[in-house]
């Protein structure tokens, strides 16, 4: 009873709260990072250096009027934000924040597969949001989104096949342990795969330079144009939760998760004094910062260019990477 229900439930409660709170602070971080990149100060009014902005933002969004357009499909319109948020949160179930059983909700032997399948459900939320709004701009955006997410998911999944070949397991915990046994982060073994997953991750989370589904300057906000209040913020929660989960998974798969740098070098053993979850969190932060940095720097791709990159560049490279990995695996 205790082991099967209560402890996992407690973990889930803690994890969900941690995610939701970190999302609000991540929005603040994004505003600050981009502000500094643009020689501004960012939010400064609420609390010292605007720290409390992270709390004020959600309160504002909750208090806003929740409007459902008259011509919208009421049921789907309410369902869409939920459908896009829940998979993003469920994906955290298989993300291990440390080697000990205390640090993950579940270590299933097909963890990576579970992660990929759950995150791909999120696209339904976006498609339905655009469709149910019964408005032209969201419709265009949701068409873009579905095409984009599906094609980039293929690229990312194929890339991860080569990583699975290297690690020999689909379990998230197993992949990190394999990196410990091999004594190297897989980012150095599979640099091509790492770059592909990073690009695919940007595209899947609708971040610049692939933020076409919500291209503000073209489609006036994209699929969530008609949303307001809490439902709108659910989309935002989903987007940021997705960014965190993608960063976490990239850190786990390619940067050794909770392992210290150079896990095979004995001379650096003193680094083990720092707990594993701190290592993982700092790696996640690095990726989050990278995502924001990219957003502050790059313009946006066009729809056809995006599809061309996905199908003509990423997928062939991913396939070639699988072949090369397979050959090396057989020979070595």
């Amino acid at each position: 009873m205790l082991d099967t229900f209560i402890i996992p439930l407690l973990k889930i409660v803690v994890l969900l709260n941690a995610i939701l709170i970190s999302v609000t602070f991540m929005v603040l971080m994004e505003r600050k990072v981009i502000a500094w990149a643009q020689s501004r100060l960012g939010p400064m009014r609420v609390g010292p250096y605007g720290v409390l902005q992270a709390i004020v933002d959600p309160i504002k969004l909750i208090l806003k009027e929740d409007i459902t357009p008259v011509k919208a499909d009421k049921m789907l319109f309410s369902l869409a934000p939920i459908l896009s948020l829940v998979p993003a949160l469920v994906a955290f179930a298989v993300v291990p924040f440390g080697g000990d059983e205390l640090f993950y909700v579940a270590d299933i032997n097909v963890g990576l597969l579970f992660f990929l399948s759950v995150t791909s459900i999120g696209v339904y939320g976006i498609i339905l949001a655009g469709w149910a709004s019964n408005s032209k701009y969201p419709l265009l955006a949701s068409l873009r989104a579905s095409a984009q997410l599906i094609s980039y998911e293929i690229a990312v999944t194929m890339t991860l096949v080569s990583l699975i070949l290297t690690a020999g397991t689909l379990s998230m915990v197993g992949i990190v342990e394999a990196q410990l046994t091999d004594g190297v982060w897989y980012g150095f073994v599979q640099p091509v795969a790492f770059v592909l997953v990073l690009i695919g991750g940007l595209a899947e989370t609708n971040r610049v330079p692939f933020d076409l589904p919500e291209a503000e300057t073209e489609l006036t906000g994209g699929f969530h144009t008609e949303y307001s209040g809490m439902r709108f913020s659910l989309f935002f929660l989903a987007e940021y939760a997705n960014i965190i989960v993608i960063s976490a998974v990239t850190a786990i798969l390619f940067f050794g998760g909770w392992l210290r740098p150079f896990p095979n070098v004995e001379a650096l053993a003193f680094l083990d004094l720092i707990p594993g979850w701190i290592w993982l969190f700092s790696k996640i932060f690095l990726f989050l910062y990278l995502f924001m940095w990219i957003r502050a720097t790059l313009p946006r791709y066009r729809y056809d260019q995006l599809m061309r990159i996905g199908w003509k560049l990423l997928i062939p490279i991913a396939l070639a990477n699988i072949v090369v990995t397979g050959i090396v695996k057989v020979l070595v």
Binding site: I34, A37, Q38, S39, R40, K136, Y137, L140, R144, V208, P209, D211, L212, A215, E216, T217, E218, L219, T220, A296, T297, L298, P299, R300, Y301, R302, Y303, D304, Q305
Partner: protein, 373 residues
Amino acid sequence: MATQSAPIFDTDELVINMGPQHPSTHGVLRLVLKLDGERVVDCDTVMGYVHRGIEKLSENRDWTQIILLTDRMDYVAAATNNLGYCETVEKLLEVEVPRRARYIRTILAELQRIGSHCLWLGTHAMDIGAMTVLLYAFRERELVLDLFEEYCGARLTYNSMRIGGLPLDIPSGWDRKVREFCDVMEGKLPEYEELLTNNRIWLERTRGVGVISARDAIGLGLCGPPLRGSGVYRDVRKDEPYAAYDEFDFEIPLGTRGDTYDRYLIRLEEFRQSIRIIRQALDGLPEGPIMGKVPRLLKPKAGETYHAIESPKGELGYFIVSDGRATNPYRFRVRPPSFCNLQGLKPLIVGHLVADVVCLIGTIDIVLGEVDR
């Protein structure tokens, strides 16, 4: 079996209304787009949302009162509008403007060009998704506005010129500040270029987008950077010099392909040429009066005149008719560059994707206040 040409599903064009309230139509421009998928097959440009009847109003105003109405046309480049109007009336009155006033006018006009191009660069890049450039460009535009504020007290609608000269001489130390600004601006241009010029995404978004041939550009009556982007050598500053432009040494950048990227490069080069002109003007700034000999009561002889200047957006012309009796123009008509360049929007847009529409609105650099007047 179905024949190959018959579509399996019904296809229909999607009519989408872009504007007048849209984040990147640069004001209250409205485009009715017919889309086939994401491709634009037809485009209808609707304007007139900020029509204030400035031309008709001017026909009932004193000659000097009109100056501040011209501020409200291209509110991004108010000083250039003042300059165009004042020179036209001076031509009508046959008034000689002192050399010092002409020099200062040139400096103001070129500062204004830098300010206007800053706004264009920022919004154009923002439309394509590079939002940092917007903040960088506005940071420098702020410096231009500060200089104008110090000169005439206003930051947007300057009312900075008078018929026959200038209302004010430059404040002491102002020329030094302008020089400092030129140095700062020269240092900031590489920053913009680093973010955009060789950026692969920027190149992909602007290269080959909105190509217009020189013949078509002339046919559509385009002017300014969109015309020069197609390789047509036409700049009023060179062809029919006004103010003090004939005394300065500067170049007119020309494009070769006539695409959005060329127009971008041209405007960036115009920043540099403007800085060059300002420096020369400050070096050779003559002493003397700032106001010519203008009669107390302005009553030009009966007649009509057209005078054009090169505003940041293109050829800005004023056509004024005086009946010789009244203290107001009999007919007042503006040839606004934004309006003429807007003609080129439809041929540029058709055949491109929705994402390119905002990029092309940005590249022709329109100000709706000037389009509608």
